[in-house]
């Protein structure tokens, strides 16, 4: 990788981090309503993963989607505007936090029903095979989604039809407030792929370079006809499940322990240690991220709300 690419990964991670910290403040001020699920702590997962995709590879994910949207190239302005329900948001305010999407960026959305997008990913991949196009569908989901039937049907189908899907389980250790081992018969999620004869592995999701390099390798294998694979990426969310989560299900020490493995801190040390960048250069990136986020807030706050007639727009396709 060139220095600029290394810095770009860093930039994406700090933009996600700052954007979400600011979103949390806006939520507390009542400027963002509804539900807000922060990705803080997990930035290395989607940043590393999506940096490894080619433009033709599509990405589809669950509801914790702000980071994924940024990594897929949706601007901070559009993400922030969508969080505020403004017409300039990437879903013109109809979607909100959990339903960011932009097909022009080959980002097929955040999806709010746990697991429901998995069979849809199979259909997207089937499209590629049907049309004889070489692309991979990258489908991300949380550990909680591995206990619902959607996953099992989707894994089975993708394997039996030998489709180019990379199943990515972001194991952040909790399905809402329930620890993995209290909800899943196997706490090593990757084992679930074994029942479908599917190649699988587990990696550390706090290290953006490890995620990127693994994803590059696996995506190439899938592109070359390996069939679907499952990648478990172990990570941790530093904040609650959503903004309204009192976090009674985990101890503060546990959170602190993980926070010592902050993916941004790890990557900073990596870049400085390898003399890819200096501390001052990274601080400069932090400043740029801050500017991007502040501008996004200004943009979002100044943007108009959707007009009432948008309520009835796009119920049916009219020809």
């Amino acid at each position: 990788m060139e220095k600029l690419e290394y810095l770009d990964l860093y930039q994406q991670m700090v933009v996600i981090r700052r954007l979400e910290e600011v979103a949390a403040e806006l939520y507390q001020k009542g400027k963002i309503g509804g539900f807000l699920h922060l990705y803080i702590g997990q930035e290395a997962v989607s940043t590393g993963l999506i940096s490894a995709r080619r433009p033709e590879d599509r990405v589809i994910t669950a509801y914790r989607d702000h980071g994924v949207a940024i990594n897929c190239g949706i601007s901070a302005n559009e993400v922030m505007a969508e969080l505020l329900g403004k017409v300039t948001g990437c879903s013109r305010g109809k979607g909100g936090s959990m339903h960011l999407a932009d097909v022009s960026k080959n980002f097929w959305g955040g999806h709010a029903i746990v697991g429901a997008h998995l069979p849809i990913a199979v259909g997207l991949a089937l499209g590629d095979v049907y049309k004889d196009r070489k692309a991979v569908t990258i489908c991300m989901f949380g550990d909680g989604a591995t206990n619902i039937g959607f996953l099992h049907e989707a894994l089975n189908l993708s394997k039996v039809w030998n489709l180019p899907v990379l199943w990515v389980c972001e194991n952040n250790q909790y399905g809402m407030g329930t620890a993995v081992e209290r909800a899943s018969a196997v706490s090593e999620i990757r084992q679930k792929a074994c029942g479908y004869g599917m190649k699988n592995e587990a990696i550390n999701g706090m290290d953006v370079i490890e995620v990127r390099e693994t994803a590059l390798r696996i995506l190439e294998e899938i592109r070359n006809g390996s069939g679907p694979q499952l990648l478990e990426i172990d990570t941790y969310r530093f904040r609650g499940h959503s903004m309204g989560d009192p976090e009674r299900y985990r101890k503060a020490e546990e959170v602190h322990q993980w926070q010592e493995n902050d993916p941004i801190g790890i990557y900073r040390r990596y870049l400085i240690g390898r003399e890819v960048a200096t501390e001052a250069e990274l601080n400069e990136q932090d400043g740029l991220a801050e500017q991007i986020v502040q501008k996004a807030v200004e943009f979002a706050e100044a943007s108009p709300e959707p007009s009432p007639e948008e309520l009835y727009a796009h119920v049916y396709v009219e020809e």
Partner: protein
């Protein structure tokens, strides 16, 4: 004009659309090598190959989920659910995903998928092979719901459904698959999704029905005609979006409305038709709106007399319409 059965018309519609558009494919349980449990797809696997007539595992939510994904991709999938009774594992995919994609994406993503399912009783299928499910889906904005009653409409409506950019639920009265015959032109035609059809004109009472019940309603109207009662029969055909205009025109002419469906009564499709009439044609009515529907029991029972008691039939329809005509 050649005469054919309902199921032959359905098969022909899929065959022609697959020949016309390479993006059209079929996915479902046993639709390929076996040709479908009711033989709706017979011969298509041989003609179009396994990549276009895809045998899926017994996994309804995935059959529909894959259809939605492929439709988002730009394909024109036809998902077959073997019996309407099996559709519930896919309920989330249909109601939560297919119906909402266009709206949630502000017009960016379309889901041109057709979900076909045989429905209805009277075939001794018992509790889990006789259900009518149209009311669940007709409730959902974003979905179109179509139920043909004859081969001509079945072919023309299914072809329209396949070309429609919206998700279309296409429910087929399975009792009529081989029972209902009719003329189907050789030349290409479409029947538009949306308009209902007045299939028999009459001045005394309007009978609104669809699918198998429409077939019976025509028989009932024939019986009533012998007695001097002229029943008008309206084939609703497209349940969603509903054709209010045709419903109201007919009621305004006859002043009396009987709605017939085999789905059970409470909150069935007839409730919506009755509400439309009450809201927009109250002063044209000469009698209370009447509904004839399956009884409110959890399923169509197996035992022949119980099933007979459950199902509306031409006699029951004629009796209800006669009472209404004499009101």
């Amino acid at each position: 004009m050649p005469e054919m059965t309902l199921i032959e018309a359905i098969r022909q519609a899929m065959d022609e659309e697959m020949a016309r558009d390479p993006n059209v494919f079929i996915v479902g349980e046993d639709v390929g090598k076996r040709g479908g449990v009711f033989r709706a797809t017979m011969g298509l696997y041989e003609k179009y190959g396994e990549s276009r007539v895809i045998d899926a595992p017994l996994a309804e939510l995935s059959i529909v989920g894959v259809g939605i994904g492929a439709a988002l991709y730009g394909m024109r999938p036809i998902c077959e659910i073997q019996f309407a009774d099996y559709i519930f594992p896919a309920f989330n995919q249909i109601v939560g995903e297919a119906a909402r994609m266009y709206y949630r994406s502000n017009g960016e993503w379309t889901v041109p998928v057709v979900i076909r399912a045989p429905y209805g009783g009277g075939i001794s299928g018992g509790l889990y092979h006789s259900q009518s499910v149209e009311a669940f889906f007709a409730h959902v904005p974003g979905l179109k719901v179509v139920i043909p009653s004859n081969p001509y409409d079945a072919k023309g409506l299914l072809k329209s459904a396949i070309r429609d950019p919206n998700p279309v639920m296409f429910f087929e009265p399975k009792k009529g698959y081989r029972l209902i015959r009719g003329e189907v032109p050789e030349e290409e035609y479409l029947v538009p999704i949306g308009p209902a059809k007045i299939s028999r004109f009459g001045r005394d009472v309007s009978i609104f029905a669809y699918g198998m019940m429409h077939y019976y309603a025509l028989q009932a109207a024939e019986m009533l005609a012998q007695e001097g009662i002229e029943a008008e029969v309206v084939d609703l055909r497209t349940l969603a979006p509903v054709d209010k205009t045709t419903i109201l025109e007919s009621v305004k002419r006859t002043g009396k409305a009987l709605i017939v469906h085999e789905d059970n009564l409470t909150l069935g499709y007839g409730a919506e038709v009755a509400a439309i009439i009450a809201e927009y044609a109250f002063t044209d009515l000469d009698a209370p709106v009447r509904r004839l529907a399956g009884p409110d029991v959890p399923g169509v029972p197996f035992s022949p007399p119980l099933q007979e008691w459950f199902m509306p039939n031409p006699e029951k329809i004629a009796n209800a319409a006669r009472e209404l005509a004499r009101f």
